[in-house]
């Protein structure tokens, strides 16, 4: 086996997400690279939820349109996903809730015989899944022991019963990989931020980054981390300003609607030079849109959000490992250059789950910042060669630390003078140069696939894993700018050089990266766009690519 997809479906509230995660963990323990996609509507109970766990001997990060095993906790799962089944799809279903061709599991009966509560039904199905696919039961036990905190024994007992009632119809050979930590994009961002020195996280819940708040709130129970959920997003970002002014590395999390409310303070960060880091998870828009689905429609919004002109860092990680690495860097660069930073993710990335590769915690770029002058009076905005002023936090005996949203002089006192206005803008331009230089040293553009291939797929953000995979199959090159501001034009040109044909792949209707490239003198030949809230599947990418190549 090299590539196997398992769909786990049921009603919202049935714990589909956890069931899918256990399936993923089984593959992880078996030595494969799992990838889990979670699809759910915006409701709490009753609607249809499903996960697809795809496991491969190579890292993957997108789904196929073929399901090899279907784990149906209800009838909808069977009915709604028929198009994904093929002749050999193994169907395992809860026979008390669905009828289908395949192997029924009398979950209800087993539970009552084992005197187990209803929530353990999923363990039973997981057992059946393992039995049918020949996953050794000790692997199930191992995964349960590690992942199920409560009622372990009973869960195992129930799983064993499920394991026993089905017949093995496939064999999954043990793979060769070591089990890696399975984390979601939100968790990867959280871990990266922690690695980058995060002191505080402030957020108001909003899909798809609510789970980042939950994750860090959980961390704060055990570690000295300040996590606050205030009255709304305006308070969120302003608290972040206060925290950062007083020296705490702070990030906030939100999605489009909340981000709108933060734009005024992102602009303030442009003027007052207080570093704020925003994790912005895109979802299908405009407006409330499809809150639990994905999209890449906010690139230009984040590039230009807030009145006035000022440098900002925008990074769009393409997978979980990049999310970890670049979240740490974003925090660190925001502080070293005293600029706002935006980590631009989307629902696919935030809520997708894959193994975190080794190397996700590289040493951080050093936060070069000039020291405050000794002997002279401290000025928060003193002019320097690279635009970066010494940044102190109160209390500093003998120093007055003034930040200001008005145009100000070096000391931070409001000015309306035309010469100072120009100089402060020039300072911002210098800062952008410095920021650019610092990002350029961190390979802001990634290249994958066949070296010097004439056809290049150009992508950004969460479409990366899918693009990487099809490029591998088709012999294409993949170029992915991770940093989108300051836009790494030169690196991108280098990465694209020799391409005969550049095909952009984006999950939006306008081709926003294409627009950004065009503005920077890079022309893209073709754009493959999708905007129904669902991520590209491998087959869809192949199909759409074959149409244009």
């Amino acid at each position: 086996m090299a590539d196997l997809s398992v769909l786990t479906g049921g009603r919202a509230g049935d714990g589909i997400n956890s069931a899918g995660l256990l399936v993923s963990h089984l593959f992880n323990r078996m030595g494969y690279f799992p990838y889990m996609y979670f699809d759910y509507p915006s409701l709490i109970k009753g609607g249809h939820n499903f996960t697809i766990t795809r496991a491969s001997d190579m890292p993957v990060g997108a789904c196929r349109e073929r399901i090899d095993v279907m784990l149906a906790l209800n009838q909808d799962t069977i009915d709604l996903h028929r198009d994904l089944m093929h002749d050999e799809t193994v169907v395992i279903y809860d026979s008390g809730r669905a009828t289908a061709e395949g192997q029924g599991v009398p979950v209800q009966e087993i539970l009552s015989e084992e005197q187990a509560p209803a929530v353990m039904g999923n363990s039973c199905m997981i057992g059946a899944f393992s039995g049918a696919t020949g996953i050794p039961f000790h692997i199930v036990e191992e995964v349960f022991t590690r992942q199920i905190p409560r009622g372990l024994e009973k869960n195992i007992a129930v799983a064993r019963r499920g394991y026993g009632v089905v017949k093995q119809v496939r064999t999954i050979e043990p793979g060769t990989g070591e089990p890696l930590p399975l984390v979601s994009g939100n968790e990867a961002i959280g871990l990266g931020l922690l690695h980058g020195g995060l002191d505080a996280f402030v957020a108001y819940p909003m899909t798809p980054t609510s789970n980042l708040l939950h994750f860090l709130a959980g961390m704060a129970e055990e570690h000295p981390l300040t996590v606050v959920h205030p009255e709304n997003e305006i308070a969120v970002i302003l608290m972040a300003h206060g925290l950062a002014y007083a020296g705490k590395k702070t990030a906030v999390g939100t999605s489009g609607g909340g981000f709108c409310l933060m734009t005024e303070s992102i602009s303030m960060s442009g003027t007052n030079e207080v570093p704020v880091v925003v994790v912005m998870g895109q979802r299908t828009g405009p407006s409330t849109g499809l809150p639990t689905y994905t999209g890449q429609t906010d690139l230009h919004f984040v590039l230009h959000a807030g009145q006035g002109e000022f440098p900002r860092l925008v990074v769009a990680p393409g997978d979980i490992t990049q999310a970890c690495i670049w979240s740490a860097r974003a925090l660190s660069l925001a502080w070293s250059c005293q600029v706002p930073a935006i980590i631009l993710a989307d629902k696919t990335l935030c809520e997708g789950i894959t193994p975190l590769q080794n190397g996700a915690f590289p040493p951080l770029p050093s936060e070069e910042r000039p020291d405050a002058p000794s002997g002279r009076e401290y000025h928060r905005y003193s002019f320097t060669e690279n635009g970066i002023s010494p940044m102190l936090y109160p209390p500093v005996p003998g120093s007055v630390i003034k930040v200001n949203s008005y145009i100000h002089d070096e000391a931070g006192i409001t000015t309306e003078r035309s010469d100072l206005t120009t100089r402060m803008t020039d300072k911002r331009i210098l800062k952008e140069k410095t920021l650019r230089a610092r990002t350029e040293s961190l390979s802001p553009v990634e290249v994958f696939g066949r070296d010097h291939a004439p056809i290049t797929i150009l992508c950004w953000g969460s479409t990366l894993p899918g693009c990487r995979e099809v490029a591998g199959t088709l012999g294409f090159r993949v170029v992915q700018p991770v940093v989108l501001s300051p836009f790494p034009v030169n690196q991108l040109k280098t990465a694209l050089s020799g391409s005969e044909r550049i095909i952009a792949i984006e999950e939006n209707a306008l081709g926003q990266l294409v627009m950004l490239c065009a503005r920077n003198g890079i022309s893209v030949d073709e754009a493959i766009l999708k905007y129904d809230g669902r991520p590209f599947s491998i087959e869809e990418l192949e199909r759409r690519l074959s149409e244009v190549t």
Partner: protein
Amino acid sequence: MSRTLITDAQNTWCPGCGNFTIQFALRNAIQNLVKEGVPLETIVLVTGIGCHAKMADYLNINSFYSIHGRTIPVATGIKLANPELTVLCCTGDGDAYAEGLDHLVFAAKRNSHITVIVHNNRVYGLTTGQYTPTSPLGFRGRSTPGGTIEAPFNPLSLMLTSGAGFVARGTSRKMRELEDLISQGLRHRGFAFIDVLQVCATYFNTSEVYDRQGYALSDHDPADFEAACRKAQEWDYNRDAPIALGLFFRQEKPVFEEQFPRRSMTPVDRGKAIQAILDAKR
């Protein structure tokens, strides 16, 4: 303390503006605090945008000159970052009662340990004289040339209802008393709210009313919530009535910021914490 508390910035308040009084009262209150041993560098002022907000330019102390309506969450953030700091806001009535009212209510609810001084001139000064939530009914401002149709609300009542543990009212017509209220507010462990009836010499000169109607609270027990509510309702910011000045209510409660960790994670802590999570997710 050798440093003077006033910067060299040119002062641009109108002649006769009540902000001068507030500035001196605040300066004195800070000086007293420093005399008592609070290091000057541990004091941080947050201001909004408006005439009042120029305080950030004029006082030679740490300051965060924020945007319109947004002093309070910044102040809470600063206090969260470092509870050793004494954090106060100079905010306007447009700022705190209109644009950013929600933050005021929530700071009271949380008992965020900050002092909020509202320069309540009952008008938007810097944008040239529009009505605010505390302008009297019928106020003719530039956005309401025929007079407003909205009665004001009562900020003291609102703060009492929201859970504020320190509620006071002063006026720019009485500097000594104001200084004293600010001093008390700065010393209060928790959220302290001071509504300052400030005269706007240009757009709403209420000196005469405050002089005539204002009186110092006496025979009033600031521990008595009911009494505070009654006193607060004596004047509704609209019709003529006696205007009590002083401390209406004070009560100590658990402080928001004290319930967060004081120290930060060390790099070693971080490494360990990350490793523990990774291990659990394998």
